[in-house]
């Protein structure tokens, strides 16, 4: 289910935005955007929603479903009764979740690119083909990916501990709202809240886009925070797994 969500989500969202651009093509062309701004508007539509809302929720949902499959079927006991290293089981689950996020974002980036060119074919008056946005797209999505790892680690532990939907979802929801607010009011320490990192990361890349769009450092403070959170919580999660008694 999480696997299909990883594929459907980008397809649907990019599809909708493309459709929106297609049906409003007259107005958008009338605005006479330079190609770089056109790409920015187009990809920004997807990135904006992604960073703010969907990304945190998607990560929460996925961390939940990767663990829930074992809770629901009562298969933790079976997994841990196998002659397998507990670390291997835990790491495999975690890496699968990371892979799903990567897949989802990779699709977002490539679909944005592909649909942009599709629009160009459908409406030749667009000037999508006059600028190559790959660098910015890859950069933005790579940052989004890295910044989401902090949330993933938190949610992964929550979903590991609790078999129900409400607790990890509720905490994640509150966290996301807090993160968005903290990021939007520009609180100095907002980067310490993992949930606000995707939004923060996107904002920094947007601000700098006005200057030199090709000069975007990937490893900013937010990304480091996210990676540090991810690493620490990953290790804590492993200790929870080894100590976990299965009732």
């Amino acid at each position: 289910m999480a696997f299909w969500a990883a594929i459907l989500l980008p397809v649907i969202i990019c599809g909708l935005i493309t459709f929106g651009f297609y049906s409003n093509s007259a107005e958008i062309i009338a605005a006479h955007n330079p190609p770089i701004m056109l790409w920015a508007r187009y990809s920004g539509a997807a990135l904006g929603i992604m960073g703010l809302l969907i990304m945190p929720f998607y990560v929460i949902f996925m961390a939940f479903s990767v663990n829930n499959i074992e809770h629901k079927n009562d298969t933790w006991k079976m997994l841990f009764a196998q002659p397998l290293n507990k670390f291997a089981i835990y790491a495999a689950k975690y890496l699968f979740a990371v892979f799903l996020i990567f897949l989802c974002l990779f699709l977002f980036a490539s679909l944005t690119f592909a649909f942009g060119h599709l629009l160009q074919l459908l409406v030749p008056k667009f000037n999508f083909d006059q600028y190559n946005p790959l660098h910015i797209l890859i950069n933005a999505y790579a940052k989004l990916f890295l910044s989401s790892l902090g949330i993933l680690s938190i949610q992964f532990i929550l979903s590991l501990l609790w078999g129900d939907f409400l607790k990890p979802m509720g905490i994640g929801f509150v966290g996301t709202i807090m993160g968005i607010i903290a990021a939007n009011v520009g609180w100095k320490y907002a980067y310490l809240i993992p949930y606000s990192l995707p939004a923060l990361v996107l904002r920094t890349s947007k601000v700098k886009k006005g200057g030199n769009p090709l000069d975007l450092p990937i490893f900013t403070q937010e990304i480091w925070t996210s990676l540090i959170y991810a690493a620490i919580l990953f290790i804590i999660g492993y200790f929870i797994v080894t100590k976990k008694s299965i009732k």
Binding site: D74, T75, K77, M78, F80, A81, P83, S245, I246
Partner: protein, 302 residues
């Protein structure tokens, strides 16, 4: 120690303040079918989970094939197959996919999945989603999962739970076959003695976390001594007469007198004695306390 597949030494286990297993010393010989008996909530499942290291046991109390479990977790689990409580099955996969999944996890040839399905009689339902399986079919699939790695020791927690009489007989025969032909050791838990009685070579009876009896099935039978029950018209005087003649009386009700059974001849003599003294003996028969009652007695007295 070398002759035991499972040995626990004074094993204690608590959930918080609640004592689940108290000073448990299991001794399961290699190649035996060990019936692990106890009423619901006696600590059977907890014990099995400890044996699988799902619940952490104190060190140096649990030994599987002579090895301490906490320090040899992976090595011991390789030799153990288990079915704990409800079988752990992925509902969104078919029965066959569930087994193949296990093969991949353990690095076993995938063809083994078909063999196991045939063994537990699920070949026809192999491509049906496991969530659509009946309880009995899930139980069979669970047993197939436990057997797939060809373990030397099988831990089966109430394996016949939810099976129809036919299924129960099949499982019973399967267990006997595994133990005799393939020299596997099986620990099978149950709250029904009658079920264990037919297959087990050894029995352990547990109640409230304490082991009340442990030994071979013959030793258990010896515990139940045959009795002689007499129904006679004038109970009071009959008891007086029997006691005067040097017999031991175990119990008496207003209809029946119960004595230890000594021999057939002795029973005849007792009958003659009563009749000669003018009593009307309406019945006199040998009664063997069945294991079911014995089991109830053992668990009740605690």
């Amino acid at each position: 120690m070398g002759n035991y597949a499972i040995e626990t030494v004074g094993l204690n286990f608590n959930f918080g303040n609640q004592v689940i297993v108290k000073d448990l010393s299991l001794k399961v010989p290699k190649g035996s079918i060990y019936g692990f008996l106890g009423p619901n909530g006696a600590g059977k499942t907890t014990t099995i989970k400890i044996l699988l290291n799902l619940l952490k046991s104190p060190s140096d109390q649990v030994f599987i094939f002579g090895k301490e479990i906490n320090s040899n977790r992976i090595a011991t689990l390789k030799r153990v197959g288990a079915l704990v409580e409800q079988p752990a099955i992925y509902g969104h996969l078919t029965g066959k996919e569930n087994l193949i999944n296990r093969c991949i996890l353990l690095g076993i040839k995938k063809t083994k999945a078909d063999d196991m399905l045939a063994l537990v009689g699920l070949t026809e339902a192999a491509n049906k989603k496991a969530s659509k399986y009946s309880l009995g079919m899930k139980q069979r699939l669970g047993i197939a999962q436990a057997l797939i790695s060809d373990p030397e020791l099988l831990l089966l927690d109430e394996p016949t739970n939810g099976l129809d009489p036919n299924g129960i007989i099949e499982i019973r025969n399967l267990m006997i076959e595994l133990a005799t032909k393939h020299e596997k050791t099986i620990l099978v838990s149950s709250h029904l003695l009658a079920e264990i009685e037919r297959t087990a070579t050894h029995v352990g009876i547990i109640n409230k976390g304490e082991l009340l009896f442990q030994g071979t099935i013959e030793e258990l039978h010896l515990l139940s001594k045959p009795m002689l029950e007499i129904e006679v018209d004038d109970i009071e005087s009959a008891i007086f007469l029997i006691a005067k003649s040097g017999y031991e009386i175990i119990t008496q009700t207003d209809k029946k007198i119960t004595l230890p059974f000594i021999s057939t001849q002795n029973s005849g003599e007792l009958n003659t004695l009563l009749v000669k003294n003018g009593f009307t003996v309406s019945s006199l028969y040998k009664q063997r306390k069945d294991l079911e009652n014995l089991f109830l007695d053992i668990t009740k007295t605690n």
